[in-house]
């Protein structure tokens, strides 16, 4: 039933950015996995980094989830004035593509990540804190 991915087949366009890879080399990257850059996007010669890698580094200067990085990719920063023309239709990158790019960044030491831990859901204080937070909304 399941076919292995065949790079000879026409690729879904966004996967060109990952050179055909559909899974990250490192990390499993849940949609809520937290990501933070260890430094400012490096300037100078970093041959392993594409403009897309650099854009992700720019977006995760503060901790962000994988889903937020995917949604915010390529969007104009909020501080910038609204363009007079209607905003481009969507922007963003598919989550699976972002995962592959994050795997590269992790491999080269540009980001730190924190995958969600299943054990968290057994911590009673976590539930208590969330309820307090929701009440305060």
């Amino acid at each position: 039933m399941r076919q292995p991915f065949d790079p000879a087949e026409p690729m879904v366009r966004p996967y060109v950015l990952t050179r055909g890879r559909v899974q990250p080399g490192r990390g499993s990257f849940d949609v809520i996995t937290q990501v933070v850059a260890v430094s400012e996007p490096p300037s100078g010669d970093h041959r392993e980094l594409s403009p897309e890698h650099l854009e992700i580094l720019r977006l995760c200067q503060e901790p962000r989830s994988v889903a937020e990085l995917a949604a915010q990719f390529g969007r104009v920063a909020e501080e910038e004035p609204e363009p007079a023309a209607p905003a481009p239709p969507s922007g963003g990158l598919p989550i699976s593509v972002v995962r592959v790019l994050l795997g590269d960044l992790l491999e080269h030491g540009h980001i730190e990540i924190q995958e969600p831990e299943a054990d968290n859901l057994r911590r009673i204080d976590l539930y208590k804190e969330i309820i307090v937070g929701l009440r305060a909304l």
């Binding site: 879904v12 699976s96 929701l134």
Partner: protein
């Protein structure tokens, strides 16, 4: 000493917050995105996932022409509970054939809200089924469209064949107090389901 670290490594990286996710599920047009937007601190973000070769096997209904090109969109929002604790709400993609996306969202989720519209109650059967089979704690929130309250909550409970422990409540996804109540009920329910309370 810090002076020995390279300039790039010198910046302390912020401690990464604990992240928790909740899934908002239910049939087409039942108010999932509305609920995500009502409680989130920003307007709902939208992200896409591609149905690749890898996952085509999961989707038996797709024709060959759909191969490796179907995208599925989902909305999500964020509530920063504290600087070290962030809650994410994910609306499931409306079409149930995108089960691979449901699996991804539900894995490790604290719990799920199944939104139901009593005019089309059957639309939420697949969601209820799904979370029951996965063992994900869930509650059912009946969205009152146009005051269309055709059933008592007990009737909904019966119609969905829910166990007595599954909370069923009314809600209005457009109103913050109502959405808060729904989420608090879910978190309390999930806590009871996951952490057995010691006797006495």
């Amino acid at each position: 000493m810090a002076s020995e670290l390279s300039e790039r490594a010198a910046r302390p990286t912020p401690k990464l917050p604990t992240a928790v996710k909740i899934v908002i599920a239910g049939g087409f047009g039942v108010g999932k995105t509305t609920m995500v937007g009502t409680v989130s601190e920003t307007t709902p973000l939208r992200t896409e996932e591609i149905l690749t070769d890898r996952s085509v096997g999961v989707d038996d209904t797709s024709g060959v022409e759909a191969k490796a090109s179907t995208t599925v969109a989902m909305d999500f929002g964020r509530i920063t509970v504290r600087s070290d604790l962030v809650l994410y709400l994910f609306g499931t993609p409306g079409q149930e054939r995108f089960w691979f996306m449901w699996d991804e969202l539900s894995l490790g989720a604290l719990g799920a809200v199944v939104l139901a519209d009593t005019r089309r109650l059957a639309d939420c059967f697949p969601s209820v089924d799904y979370f029951e089979r996965r063992g994900t704690p869930f509650i059912v929130a009946v969205n009152c469209f146009d005051g269309a309250r055709q059933y008592e909550l007990e009737e909904v409970q019966l119609a969905l064949n829910l166990g007595p422990q599954v909370p069923v409540m009314l809600c209005d996804a457009r109103k913050l107090p109502s959405c808060k109540e729904v989420l608090i009920t879910l978190v309390q329910h999930a806590q009871q389901a996951r952490i057995s309370v010691p006797a006495s």
